[in-house]
């Protein structure tokens, strides 16, 4: 069997320190770039004097917004039909915004020269608090668009009247305001690029931290005016992405212009503060959840009102028709007859972004609100949260299921997953232990979360980015000697594509995985497609790989029929071999067929030689992985410190290609949940100063905060994916934060705490215990 926990091909280089990340690249004559950034969150640019920097002996070029404007490149399109300043020309709109770019002979000289640039600012009033962004008199951030306020969009989904009616007849209604605070994916490798314009051909090559190389090429083409055949984007090894490396950043373009101006390759690598302060953040959703139910705990309706903080430019990366991403899958895993959500987006003086950090296009926010509301309701009803969930989970016979906002869930057996979770965790015993502890005044909490994701965007007629349908290409060639090369449009950031995609081809063709080379990340050597994010590699590119392998298998059948001089209809396939039905000894292996396909063998009319095929796969639907999670915490009543004692996760992502890699993906997301729920904080003060701009302040979980994860699995194949697989890359990030928060709130029940916002730092827990919850994202007194 070629599915299974095969060790990874990638590891041979990584374990030797021989990976090739962007900052490892050195080209002859390469220069180094550095960006001057704004210390102000909102200010008019009065002047930018670069003369002293230009006089630095090691400086080769200095670029400002004015220089880029002369090339028509001072602004670039975002992925959400807005524009973003590459280098500021009129105003700066968030702290850390790009103002000038220095190109110098080495890293140190480039940084030195930044200090020689003299910028005059006229500070303007700052908007940092999203709820205040639409208030009368709030400073207008996007005057460049001719706007008179900070409103970005209004968007809603569901049947408002039906939901209103459901609430009107409900015996119980619970309401809770909550903030999913701004967080950052913070991959360990920051973003960077090396740009090189060939002096003879004019061809631009950009090696960059790009999760979506082909989408980037479209943007470079639109911004520079170069046709696509004269642009090559190469994503080498990527040191973690999690959504941070989907979009286009000013630094990449500055490196490109730097190379155009100097005629030499230019490397730009941001530092950690630049990464945290200026690149794609995630979340920042202010939500009001309302849930309606009968007295015996049957759900009747769910309503959510969202205020979405989009920062200074609307730079969210998601299918373009969905300004709130897939938030409207917020009915989650429950049989909810009525649901309505409405979202208002606002500009603030903060960095742009909003869809990143393994969020499945905002399903993290959706799962968080519904799973918090389930616990709030359970408390209201005096029901155990597991029991309330069990009473309302979708039943297996309801699939395929269309939810109140129109999503068509493909498959699932939810009660089985929750039952398994309770068994593995010893849920009832834990509840008894908790009761004993409570009687002694000790704080122990159990937090459940049941999530459903919608991943694998997406059907091209419904989903696009920049007008480009979200289908993905794949090309497969079997070489004359029987080994193969698979070319993909997706791009690994650590997920192990080189291994799992080889396994997919191997399972279809019988070629050993080690003889299947997987090529990705280079637009000159891969087919067009929209890249890896939103857990779409396996649902979309994985399906493309299987489809193209099956096409090659059919071609092999034609060739085999010529070799054996029998009709193709008389051939049967067994792993790696076509043979004559009923005569198992008469057949040929894929290796023999590959050689024959390249030989002088006479082929029937219409059958092309060689073993090659290509495909473009547009998924008929998304895939809907799901899971049931339990977090067990102990809270120190004297300090407010939360310790995660256990975390049990039951995941169902359909058929697993490489279970070892799947488990690793789940582990990562569980750690994310602990980080976001307990530690990660990007706060802003009244002047718009970013208070989480380094790893000293933006705390990420270490091995000490993470317990040893306990995993369980069920397998409900996707009915429409060629091998029944679903995406898994983001499941645990989506599902786990609610479990952690539910556990802490459960632990604090003796204090009457019904809700507390993330991150639940000791200070936040302490304040919650005293009935004075903290708004952690603002440091405004």
């Amino acid at each position: 069997m070629t599915y299974g926990s095969l060790p990874r091909k990638e590891d041979a280089r990584f374990v030797r320190g021989r990976g090739t990340f962007v900052d490892d690249l050195v080209l002859p004559g390469m220069l180094h770039g550095a960006i001057l950034r704004s210390p102000h969150a909102h200010a008019r640019l009065l002047s930018v004097d670069t003369s002293a920097a230009e006089a630095h002996p090691k400086v080769r070029a200095v670029l400002t917004g004015k220089d880029l404007a002369e090339r028509g490149m001072a602004w670039m399109p975002t992925l959400s039909h807005d524009v973003q300043a590459v280098l500021a020309t009129d105003k700066v709109r968030f702290q850390g915004q790009e103002i000038a770019f220095v190109v110098a002979e080495d890293r140190y000289a480039a940084r030195d020269a930044l200090e020689l640039i003299d910028v005059e600012y006229e500070p303007l009033p700052v908007v940092v608090d999203a709820p205040a962004a639409l208030a009368a008199g709030a400073a207008v951030i996007r005057d460049d668009l001719g706007k008179a306020d900070n409103h970005v969009f209004d968007w809603s989904s569901g049947d408002e009247a039906a939901t209103e009616a459901a609430f009107a007849k409900a015996e119980v209604v619970a309401r809770q305001d909550m903030l999913y605070p701004r967080v950052h994916p913070a991959p360990l490798e920051t973003c960077g690029a090396v740009a090189d314009v060939d002096a003879i051909t004019g061809k631009l090559t950009v090696w960059a931290t790009a999760q979506a190389p082909h989408a980037h090429r479209i943007l470079y083409s639109r911004i520079t005016g170069l046709p696509e055949h004269r642009i090559r984007i190469v994503a080498p090894d990527i040191g973690g992405g999690f959504g941070n490396k989907v979009g286009m950043y000013p630094g990449y373009l500055c490196a490109v212009v730097g190379s155009m101006v100097t005629g030499r390759p230019v490397k730009w690598t941001e530092d950690r503060s630049e990464n945290l302060m200026s690149t794609s953040f995630a979340r920042d959703y202010h939500m009001r959840g309302e849930i309606a139910a009968t007295r015996d705990g049957r759900l009747l309706g769910l309503r959510v009102r969202v205020l979405a903080d989009h920062g200074a430019f609307n730079g969210t990366a998601q299918p373009a028709k969905f300004p709130a991403g897939f938030f409207h899958v917020f009915t989650g895993s429950y049989d909810l007859p009525a649901a309505f959500c409405s979202v208002t987006g606002v500009y603030t003086n903060k960095a742009p972004g909003g869809v990143a950090y393994a969020c499945s296009f905002r399903i993290t926010e959706a799962v968080y609100v519904v799973e918090r509301m389930m616990d709030v309701l359970a408390r209201e009803l005096g029901l155990d949260p597991a029991e309330l969930r069990m009473r309302n989970l979708l039943r297996p016979e309801q699939f395929p299921y269309t939810c109140a906002t129109g999503w068509q869930y493909d498959s699932g057996d939810y009660p089985r997953a929750l039952t398994l979770l309770k068994e593995i965790s010893g849920y009832d015993e834990l509840r008894r232990e908790q009761a004993g502890k409570r009687a002694r005044g000790e704080l122990m909490g159990l937090g459940l979360s049941f999530f459903t994701e919608a991943v694998g965007a997406g059907p091209r007629e419904h989903m696009d980015i920049l007008g480009f349908g979200m289908a993905d290409g794949a090309e497969l060639r079997v070489h004359p000697s029987g080994s193969a090369v698979l070319r993909l449009s997706c791009m690994s950031q650590g997920q192990g594509h080189e291994t799992t995609f080889a396994q997919l081809v191997s399972a279809e063709l019988g070629i050993p995985p080690e003889e299947v080379e997987v090529v990705q990340g280079d637009t000159d050597h891969t087919p067009f497609g929209l890249g890896t994010y939103g857990s779409r590699s396996t649902p979309v590119s994985g399906a493309a790989a299987v489809t193209v392998a099956r096409k090659v298998r059919e071609r092999a059948r034609q060739v085999a029929s010529a070799m054996l001089e029998v009709s193709p209809d008389d051939l049967e396939w067994e792993r790696g071999r076509w043979f004559v039905r009923g005569v198992p000894g008469r057949g040929h292996t894929i290796r023999e067929i590959a050689l024959a396909a390249h030989s002088d063998l006479a082929l029937p009319e219409g059958v092309e030689g060689q073993l090659y095929a290509s495909t473009v796969y547009s998924p008929p639907n998304l895939t809907y992985p799901f899971g049931a999670y339990l977090c067990v915490v102990d809270v120190d009543a004297d300090t407010g410190q939360v310790r995660v004692r256990r975390f049990v996760a039951v995941d169902d992502c359909g058929v697993r290609i490489n279970p070892m890699i799947v488990a690793g993906q789940v582990h990562r997301g569980l750690a994310d949940g602990i980080g976001m729920a307990l530690m990660e904080l990007m706060a802003f003060d009244a002047d718009g100063n970013h208070l989480g701009g380094s790893f000293m302040d933006y705390l990420l979980p270490t091995a000490l905060e993470c317990p040893s994860w306990e995993l369980g699995e069920t397998v409900t194949p996707s009915p429409h994916h060629p091998i029944g697989a679903k995406g898994i890359g983001e499941s645990a990030t989506v599902g786990s934060p609610a479990a952690v928060v539910n556990a802490v709130v459960d632990a604090l029940a003796p204090f009457g705490v019904r809700h507390a916002d993330m991150p639940l730092t000791p200070a936040a827990v302490w304040r919650a215990m005293r009935g004075k919850p903290l708004r952690a994202d603002l440091a405004i007194s």
């Binding site: 374990v15 140190y108 090894d237 950690r272 790893f695 091995a703 000490l704 040893s708």
Partner: protein
């Protein structure tokens, strides 16, 4: 200023700026890009190397401070096809995803096992707690190091 640093057994004599960081000497000057850089504040640990047999974060060590000293990097852990047991453990137990934190983790792991050949899970977690990994949730890194402890001579061929 002029310094001599012995890196992976080989002496290198260089004229450097006093402010040059050891991580940049290794990466930019000596081309040893296995040692990574991930933050400016000694928090992430992707830059961990040994300085005279002690793991240090090379982003917070000046190249000048390594003058006359020995530095060991990930490139010295295995040789050709032969891998150190900690490298084998990271492959066997899926202790690697994106590979960015891996070299630093490996250097700490090797040091730990040299000083405590049979560390408990808690000791391992403590040992790597000054380093971040964003991909593995640490579980498989801990298992990888335990694997190496249980296979001090590496995998049996």
């Amino acid at each position: 200023m002029e310094i001599t640093v012995t890196v992976n057994g080989e002496p290198h004599r260089r004229t450097v700026e006093p402010r040059l960081l050891l991580v940049h000497l290794l990466r930019d000057d000596l081309g040893l890009t296995g040692t990574h850089w991930g933050c400016d504040t000694s928090n992430c640990g992707t830059c961990v190397v040994w300085l005279d047999d002690l793991p240090v974060k090379s982003c917070t060590v000046l190249a000048a401070m390594a003058d006359g000293k020995r530095v060991r990097t990930v490139e010295d852990l295995g040789h050709g096809a032969e891998l150190d047991p900690v490298q084998q453990g990271f492959v066997a137990c899926h202790g690697i995803q994106c590979g960015f934190c891996t070299p630093g983790m490996l250097m700490t792991a090797r040091w730990l096992l040299d000083h405590d050949p049979d560390p408990s899970e808690d000791v391992i977690r403590e040992a790597i707690s000054g380093q971040l990994c964003r991909c593995t949730g640490y579980e498989n890194i801990v298992r990888s190091i335990r694997w190496a402890a249980e296979h001090p001579d590496g995998a049996t061929p």
